[in-house]
C-alpha cells in the first residue's frame, strides 16, 4: 500500500518568488524520511508541494515532476483533491475542527465528504485510528466531547488519528512536535515508529536528535542567502548524514557551527 516518491528538478514558486530550486530526490516507501535545514529554506514549502497543498495559496505554483506509483502528481489529468486523499498531512499547530466532537474529528475525512458509514464500521475506524495514534486509552470515555478540550499533545495525536483514518499511502508531517512538551513528543515519535511499517512518512523537524531517532533517511535543505531560493544540499541515510556527511555545509549545520 505504501508508495515511494520520485521528485525531479522541482522548482516551487510563490508568485514570482522562487522559494525552492532544483530538488531531485527519491523518498523510499515504508520508511521515515526527515527534512532538516535552517528556517526559511523551504522545507514546509517542499513538503506541501508533495500533496498539492502548495497551490492552495493564491499565486503559488510548481515546476518539475513528482512521480508516485508511475503517475505524475502535477499531470494535467490529476485531481488535486484525490491526491490529498491519498497523501495525508499533519500540521505544525494542532488544528482539530472546533465544531466537532473527538469522534467526528477522527471521522472528518469521510464525514466532510458525506460518505455514509455504518455505525459499527465507523466505531471500528475511530477505535483503530485512535489506537494507532496512542490516544484511545485517554479519550475512549469522552469521544463525544469537543476535540478542542484536549491538551496540545492530545490534539496533535487526534490530528494524526484523523489523518490516518482515511488510510492514506503517504503521511506528511510538518514539525509535528514543535508545539509539544517532551512527553507528548516522545509519544508521537513512538507512533511514527509504529506507523512506518504501513506508511511512507516524510517529517520536517528542527530537532536533530529527533531526526536521528525516527528517520531512515535525512535530506538537508539550505539556502545560499536571504532572498535566495532554498535547495537540497544532501540526502543520505540518516546514520551517514550524522556520522560523516558528504557536504561541508551539512556537517556545519548538524554540528551547530552554522550562521
Amino acid at each position: 500500500m505504501a508508495k515511494s516518491i520520485d521528485v525531479s528538478d522541482l522548482n516551487i514558486y510563490y508568485g514570482d518568488f522562487l522559494a525552492v530550486e532544483g530538488v531531485t530526490m527519491t523518498i523510499p516507501s515504508r520508511s521515515v524520511t526527515a527534512l532538516i535545514g535552517p528556517s526559511g529554506c523551504g522545507k514546509s514549502t517542499f513538503l506541501r508541494s508533495l500533496n498539492r497543498m502548495h497551490e492552495v495559496i493564491p499565486g503559488a505554483r510548481v515546476e518539475g515532476k513528482i512521480v508516485i506509483d508511475g503517475q505524475d502528481l502535477y499531470g494535467s489529468e490529476v485531481d488535486p483533491v484525490e491526491v490529498r486523499r491519498q497523501i495525508g498531512m499533519v500540521f505544525q499547530r494542532p488544528n482539530p475542527f472546533p465544531t466537532m466532537s473527538i469522534y467526528d474529528n477522527v471521522l472528518a475525512g469521510s464525514r466532510l465528504n458525506s460518505k455514509r458509514l455504518p455505525k459499527d464500521r465507523a466505531d471500528e475506524i475511530v477505535e483503530r485510528s485512535l489506537t494507532s495514534a496512542n490516544l484511545w486509552v485517554e479519550v475512549k470515555d469522552r469521544l463525544n466531547k469537543p476535540g478542542q478540550g484536549l491538551s496540545g499533545g492530545q490534539q496533535q495525536r487526534l490530528c494524526i488519528a484523523r489523518a490516518i483514518a482515511v488510510e492514506p499511502q503517504v503521511l506528511l508531517m510538518d514539525e509535528p512536535c514543535s508545539a509539544l512538551d517532551p512527553i507528548s513528543t516522545s509519544a508521537i515519535e513512538d507512533l511514527i515508529h509504529e506507523l512506518k511499517s504501513d506508511y511512507t512518512i516524510v517529517i520536517v523537524t528542527h530537532n536533530m536528535q529527533q531526526a536521528a531517532r525516527v528517520s531512515e533517511d535525512t535530506a538537508f535543505f539550505n539556502l545560499a542567502g536571504a532572498g535566495k531560493p532554498g535547495n537540497l544540499v544532501e540526502m543520505n541515510p540518516t546514520r551517514k548524514i550524522f556520522s560523516n556527511p558528504e557536504e561541508k555545509a551539512t556537517e556545519a549545520y548538524i554540528s551547530g557551527r552554522f550562521g
Binding site: 483533491v81 482539530p96 465544531t99 466532510l112
Partner: protein, 385 residues
C-alpha cells in the same frame, strides 16, 4: 488508603504558594534580598491604601454638596448630577494623591471618567425605554394585539394587521438578503481574494450601505411600477426595498465572520481530500455560524423599523392583508407614523395606539436579539475550556 495519601502533596502545595507567586508576578523586577548584603535595608512592597469606603464617602459628600448647591441656585436634577460627578472626579483623585500614589490617583480619575461616560451613554436608552413603557404599556391588551383597525373610529381597534405586515415583509426581506449577502461574502472571502471583481463588489457594497432608505423605497416603487403600472402598492415591494438596505449589512458582517475562521481549519480539511466547496459548507460556515446569525439579526433589527420605503411602496391600510404580492400592507412603523400624525378626533386614542405599537416594535426587536443569542449559543464551537 488512597484518600489521605493523595491529599497530602496538594495541601503542602496550596498553603504557602499563592502569596509568593502573586508578589513575584506583580513585581517581576523587584530586587531579591542578597545573602550577606542584607545589612538592614528593608524591602517593602506595601503601600498606604484608601479604605474601601473612601469612594462611597466621597460620592455621598459630593452628592450632598451638589444637592445643596442646586437647591440654593434652583438648578434641576441634571445640573446637580453633573456637579456631583465633577466634584467626585476632583475630590477622590486629590485624596488619593495625598494618601496613595500618583499612579493610584490617575487610576481612580480614569475609572471615574469611564463610569461617567458609561452612565451618559445609558441615559438616552433608559429615558427612551421609560417613555415608551410609560406611554405604551397601558394600551396593550388582548384586543390591541388581535384586532385590526378595520371600521374603527375613536377608541378600540388594534395593530394585528401591522404586526402581520411587519413580520411578513421583514421575513421576505430576510429571505432575499441572507442568500445574496452570504453568498457574496463567501465569494469575497473564499474565492475572490485580492482580485478585481472582489474589489469592485466591496466598493459597491460600501456605496450600497450609504443609500438613503427613502431612495430604496422609490427604487422599489419604480421597479414594480414597470410591471404593475403606476400607483402599485405591494408588500413584496417593501421587502425588496428593505433587502436593498439589508444586503450590505449582511455582506459586511458575514465577511468579517468568515475571515475570523482560521486558515488552519481550511487547510486541515483540504489535506483530508475534501473539495473546496465542501470545506466551505461543512467547516467554514459551521464555524462562523454563531457570528453569521448575530449579524443577520442585527441587520433585521436595523431594517424592521424602517418607515420611509414602506410608506412609498407598501402603503397603509386598516385591514389585515396576508398576501405579500397584492394590495396594500400595513406595517408597524407606518402604523406608528399615521397614528401619530393623523390620530383622528379625539387625538388621544390614535396617539395611544402609536405608543403601544412602538412598544410592540421594540419588544419584537429585543426578542429577535434574544433568539439570535440562544441560537448562536447552541451552535457555537464546542470548546470545553
Amino acid at each position: 488508603m488512597t484518600g489521605p495519601l493523595k491529599s497530602t502533596p496538594r495541601a503542602t502545595e496550596a498553603t504557602p504558594m499563592p502569596r509568593t507567586t502573586s508578589a513575584q508576578t506583580r513585581f517581576p523586577q523587584a530586587p531579591r534580598p542578597e545573602r550577606g548584603a542584607g545589612t538592614g535595608r528593608h524591602l517593602s512592597f506595601g503601600q498606604p491604601h484608601l479604605p474601601w469606603w473612601a469612594g462611597w464617602l466621597v460620592a455621598a459628600v459630593s452628592a450632598a454638596a451638589a444637592a445643596l448647591l442646586s437647591l440654593t441656585l434652583g438648578w434641576n436634577i441634571a445640573g446637580g448630577a453633573v456637579v456631583a460627578v465633577v466634584l467626585f472626579a476632583i475630590a477622590l483623585p486629590t485624596w488619593s494623591v495625598l494618601v496613595e500614589s500618583s499612579r493610584a490617583a490617575k487610576d481612580r480619575l480614569v475609572t471615574t471618567l469611564v463610569w461617567a461616560a458609561f452612565a451618559i451613554a445609558l441615559v438616552p436608552l433608559v429615558s427612551l425605554m421609560y417613555t415608551v413603557l410609560a406611554n405604551g404599556l397601558g394600551v396593550i391588551n388582548g384586543q390591541f394585539l388581535t384586532y385590526s383597525m378595520r371600521n374603527v373610529i375613536g377608541q378600540g381597534g388594534g395593530i394585528y394587521h401591522a404586526i402581520i405586515g411587519t413580520v411578513l415583509i421583514t421575513l421576505a426581506a430576510t429571505l432575499i438578503s441572507v442568500p445574496v449577502g452570504l453568498l457574496s461574502a463567501i465569494y469575497l472571502v473564499e474565492y475572490g481574494v485580492r482580485n478585481r471583481t472582489a474589489r469592485t463588489i466591496t466598493f459597491l457594497v460600501d456605496v450600497m450601505t450609504g443609500i438613503p432608505s427613502i431612495v430604496a423605497g422609490l427604487f422599489a416603487y419604480a421597479l414594480f411600477a414597470l410591471f404593475f403600472g403606476q400607483g402599485v402598492r405591494m408588500g413584496f415591494g417593501g421587502a425588496v426595498a428593505l433587502s436593498l438596505l439589508m444586503i450590505p449589512i449582511v455582506v459586511r458582517s458575514c465577511e468579517e465572520m468568515l475571515k475570523l475562521v482560521p486558515g488552519d481549519l481550511r487547510e486541515a480539511s483540504y489535506a483530508l481530500g475534501v473539495p473546496k466547496w465542501r470545506t466551505i459548507v461543512k467547516v467554514v460556515l459551521p464555524t462562523a455560524l454563531p457570528g453569521i446569525i448575530t449579524g443577520v439579526t442585527l441587520a433585521i433589527a436595523r431594517v424592521i423599523g424602517e418607515t420611509a420605503p414602506l410608506l412609498v411602496i407598501a402603503g397603509s391600510t386598516d385591514s389585515v392583508n396576508t398576501n405579500l404580492f397584492a394590495e396594500r400592507m400595513m406595517t408597524l412603523p407606518v402604523f406608528i407614523y399615521y397614528s401619530f400624525t393623523q390620530p383622528g378626533v379625539p387625538a388621544q386614542f390614535g396617539q395611544d395606539r402609536a405608543w403601544g405599537a412602538a412598544l410592540v416594535l421594540i419588544v419584537i426587536v429585543m426578542a429577535l436579539n434574544l433568539v439570535a443569542r440562544a441560537i448562536g449559543r447552541t451552535f457555537s464551537p464546542k470548546t470545553a475550556r
